[in-house]
Every structure is written in C-alpha cells, then in structure tokens.
C-alpha cells in the first residue's frame, strides 16, 4: 500500500521537504546542512511537545483527582505553557554563595544536551532517523547513562543537604534500574540480531492476517516490555519512583537550589528524557513507526511513532496520578530482588523462543516458564516481607 504515490508522499513528506530544502544549497555544504536541519527540527519539536505535555499532564492529573486543572489562561487553559515559560524566563536566577558556580551552571545544560542526543538514533518514521548507527541501541544507553552525571553534578554543586540527598538517591536508583532496562532490551537484540534501531523496527514491520509482528505480542516481549516500562519510569525519575525529587521529603531533591530558567531546563530535561525513553520503548517493543494493523498502513509512519510516544506519555501521567511514592529500600529491593531475576529469566526464555522454532510449543513453554517464575517470586518476596504492608518491629 505504501507504493501508492500519494501515500508514499504523505509518508515521506518530511524527508522530501528536507531534500528539497538542502537541494537549494551548493552541493559542498549539503551533507552538513542536512544534519543541521534535522537537528534544528528535533530541538524545536520536542520542547514544543514538552509544552503540550505539561498542559496535558496538569489537566489530566486534575481530572484524575476530580479537579478542573488550569483553565484560566486562554480557552480551557491551553495557553498555560506560554504563561509558565514567560514566568520561568523572567524569574531571578539565584546561585547560592557557597555553591560551585561553574558546575552549578553546567549541570542543567549537560542534562538537556545529553537527553537530546538520544534522538539521534531513534527512527521517527520510515527513513526518518538522524543517523543509522549500527550500534544505535548501545549509543542510546551510553548517552542515557550520562544523565546520572548531570543529576549528581547538580546535587553536589548546590552545597545543600537536600540536593545532595536527592542526587545520591538519583544515582543509586538510576544505576540500579539501568540493569533491568538494558537486559530487557537485550532480549530484543537477541531476536533481531542487530543493535541498529532501524533494523529492529524493520524486523517487526511484518503482518500475518493483517496483524503486526510486534515483539510485545510474544511472551518474552510482553514480559520484557513490562520490565522496560518499570525501569524506564525509574530511569526518568517519574512517580512512583520520584524519590530523587520527592517534594514531601527533600524540598525538590537535586534541583532544590535552581530557579528561573535553569529550573525550567531541568524540567525540560526530565520531559525530553521521558520522550526519548518512550520512543525507545515504542521502537523496541511496539514496532516503532509501523502501523498497528495492515489496513492502517496508508496513515504516515511518523504519525504512528508520535501516537505511540504520546500514548506512552499518557500512561506515565496516569501512573503519576495513581501510585504513591516508594520508600528507598522498597525501590532497591524491587530492582535487585524482583526485576533483575525476572529479566534474567526473560533472557533465558528469549533464547528458548529463538531455538524452539515455530509452533504452539514455544508459546506454551515460554508463557509457562514466565508465569511460574513470576508467581514463585511474588510469593517468596511476600513471605520474606520485602513486599506488602510494612511490619513494624517495635511498634506493633
């Protein structure tokens, strides 16, 4: 269906537009101009999405708590992000006297730079990845791991106990959850046989009876996706894993001492981080830019990618509206004693899936192993007291 000229042009509209634009330039500067143009588009697009997301989040959270949410700025409050932006731009930028000025300034800048770099390898539509790196997934995780550094820079340079506590929590949490995040993606790499995100999407872009071959529709893919979601939530410091900035405990965690536009940059970094990790999740397990049904292939691929991304963001908001924050020991127990064994089991199941060949046997076997391990671990954890309601040793 993609062969139809109109469908093809709608699908490739941004690619064709870019080619036409850089075609106007002399051929010696064309490669550099092409990259620059894509970078500028990414840098403009995701902050715009961030603005939309803040209003969706505030309205959505309000509705989940039976409130109205912001509704004063413009019709239904849709101009709220503009008001927020003006406010954060005009606020005084305060640097504490005892803070390390250079590091204090660099931390938000580094965070934003690093989270934007993840988009370099994400395919946002057919032929719409900035670079087609062979080790794209590896690059993504390597870059993603640097956010820990900027968070710790912020916490350390502020010279504030709450900032430092928040930063230490952040580092502990992000490094712990990096492990299940990576290992759940490794399953996808094992099946696809490539670290290139483009190849991973291509591998899922097949249809049987009009239904897609997304990895989430396999036992190992579903388990991997769920663990990926949990780890991604923790990785982006979102509720219920928002201990690093837990406002009821630590004022605002690592960005306590930030105000004005630097604070806005931290916010931007957090949300753009959410976008990139959601995009990665969609690429790995939800077929990237491929349509959910074969007959829907006439809708452009970039539309599907951004729909999946925004759906993931809505789930993030939904979770934020539902779950209370975890305690630090619960968080660590969950990462190391539950997610890690489960994701290792999932790797084993994936290998089994790969070598059992087609047929119902691998479905039954893989599902059975995952369910049995899940139930057994939940029971064991419950009995050992790591899960469930808290037991007080002295105040029964």
């Amino acid at each position: 269906m993609i062969d139809h000229p109109i469908v093809y042009q709608a699908d490739q509209i941004f690619v064709l537009l870019k080619h036409w634009l850089i075609g106007q330039l002399p051929s010696s500067v064309q490669p550099a101009a092409g990259v620059l143009l894509s970078v500028v588009v990414i840098i403009c697009l995701f902050p715009a999405l961030f603005a939309v997301t803040t209003i969706i989040e505030r309205k959505g959270l309000g509705r989940m708590q039976n409130r109205l949410g912001p509704n004063r700025t413009g019709p239904f409050g849709i101009l709220q992000p503009i008001a927020d932006g003006i406010k954060s731009l005009t606020k005084e930028d305060i640097v504490p006297t005892s803070a390390d000025g250079v590091v204090h300034f660099l931390a938000p800048v580094l965070l934003v730079v690093v989270v934007f770099m993840g988009f370099a390898v994400l395919p946002m539509g057919r032929n719409m990845a900035l670079t087609d790196m062979d080790a794209g997934l590896l690059f993504f995780f390597a870059i993603g791991a640097s956010t820990e550094l900027s968070v710790f820079m912020a916490g350390w340079s502020s010279r504030n106990k709450y900032s430092l506590l928040g930063a230490m929590r952040a580092v502990a949490q992000m490094i712990s959850y990096e492990v299940p995040l990576l290992l759940s993606s490794v399953a996808v790499v094992m099946i696809t046989g490539s670290l290139s995100l483009n190849k991973i999407v291509e591998a899922q872009n097949h249809y049987t009876w009009g239904l897609p071959h997304w990895y989430i529709f396999t036992p190992w893919g579903l388990a991997g996706f769920l663990i990926f979601c949990i780890a991604a939530t923790a990785e982006t410091n979102r509720s219920p894993f928002d201990l690093p900035e837990g406002e009821s405990e630590l004022v605002a965690g690592y960005h306590t001492e930030y105000s004005g536009f630097k604070f806005a940059l931290f916010f931007l970094g957090e949300y753009v981080g959410m976008f990139s990790i959601s995009g990665l999740g969609a690429t790995l397990f939800l077929g990237g830019w491929s349509a959910p049904l074969q007959i829907l292939n006439f809708i452009p691929s970039w539309f599907w990618f951004f729909s999946k991304l925004m759906a993931a963001i809505c789930v993030f908001i939904w979770m934020r509206g539902t779950f209370p924050r975890l305690r630090q020991d619960q968080l660590m127990n969950f990462a190391w004693k539950f997610c890690l064994p489960l994701v290792l089991t999932n790797l084993f199941v994936t290998a089994l899936w790969r070598f059992l060949g087609e047929g119902w046997l691998r479905w039954a076997l893989c599902t059975a192993i995952l369910v049995v391990v899940y139930v057994a671990m939940a029971r064991a954890e419950m009995r050992s007291g790591h899960f469930g309601s808290r037991r007080y040793r002295y105040a029964e």
Partner: protein, 198 residues
Amino acid sequence: MFGEGILKGLAETAKNFFGSYVSADRLTTVEYPEKRLEPIEAARVFPFLVYDGGDWQAGLRCVACQICEKECPPKCIYIEKSKDKKPDAVGKMQFYPTRFDIDVSVCMSCQICVEVCPFDAIKMDKLFELATDDRFGGLILDRGMLAKSNQYFHGIHPTEAAEVDARLTAERAKSAAKAGAPAAKDAGRPQPPPPGEK
C-alpha cells in the same frame, strides 16, 4: 501480591478521569470569581461599626471608650476621642470617635474587639475581598468605610443581630424607667454585660 492492587488503583483513577467529564457532581471545585459560595452565617472576617438610623455620623453606637483599642492583640485599631459630646441613638449625650481606623493588614480577625465592646458598637463582617493595590492608604479603613447600618448587620448575621437588638431595647427601656427622664448625665448608659461573659 501479583500486582492486582496496581490494576485496581489504575482503574480507580481512570474512573475518576472519565467520570469527571460525565458527571458534574464529581467536580467539587467552585470557580471562585465567577461562582461563589454564600459564606455561612457564623462567618467572621473583619470588624465593622454598627450605626442606628439612617445617618452614620449621627447613629454610630461607638462612644470612643477605647476598650477595643487597648484590648486589640495586634494593636490595629486607632481611635481619637472627641472633645465635645453629641446625642446618641436614644438622645443621650455621648463622646464619639473623631477618628476610628482599623489597619486591615494588621487585623487578625480574632473578634476580641467585638467581645469586649460594652455598647455592641463593633461587630464582625462577612466581606473577605479586602485586597487593594494601594498598600499604604488602601489598607487603613477609616470610620466612614467601617460604618454599616443595623439593617446590614441584620442582613449578614440575623440571629446575632436579633439577639443584640432585643437586649438593647430591654436595657434602654429599663434605664428609661429607672431614671424617669434622660437626666442621668454622668452615669451614662447602664452597661450591658459583654457578650463574651455570658
């Protein structure tokens, strides 16, 4: 144990989310400047001065005894006593305040001035939108702004106003009967017990 509590919680918030678009009863928010809730009768925010009759300068019950000024914990009342006397609501000669200012920014709405006033001259109002853009002059309310009629008092606190009126009429009748004529000059009006001591 297996995460069913998580699903239950997600279902609950989803129900809230969609329900808030369907049933207006879920949204308890009253959008304040456009819609407002009538304050309850016992609401008390800021004091005002009661006057009888139609003219506030003639009918002000306050006799500038300055008890409220002395009792006010944050000292937000400023009173200047008159040199001359003028007849009050029942025709008795009384001092009156030439200046009676209350600083809104200092007042803490404790109602102690109301409780100590022997003349039922100062009462609590329901108005709460006292913000102003003039932070020097606008926050000090003078006696012209503070004076409000007895009818207004009946309008905002009917129960309390009826009780005060009944007591005042009884006392005025009693003092009129005891003195025979409004000749009791220096004794002044018999003082009713302060409401706080009842």
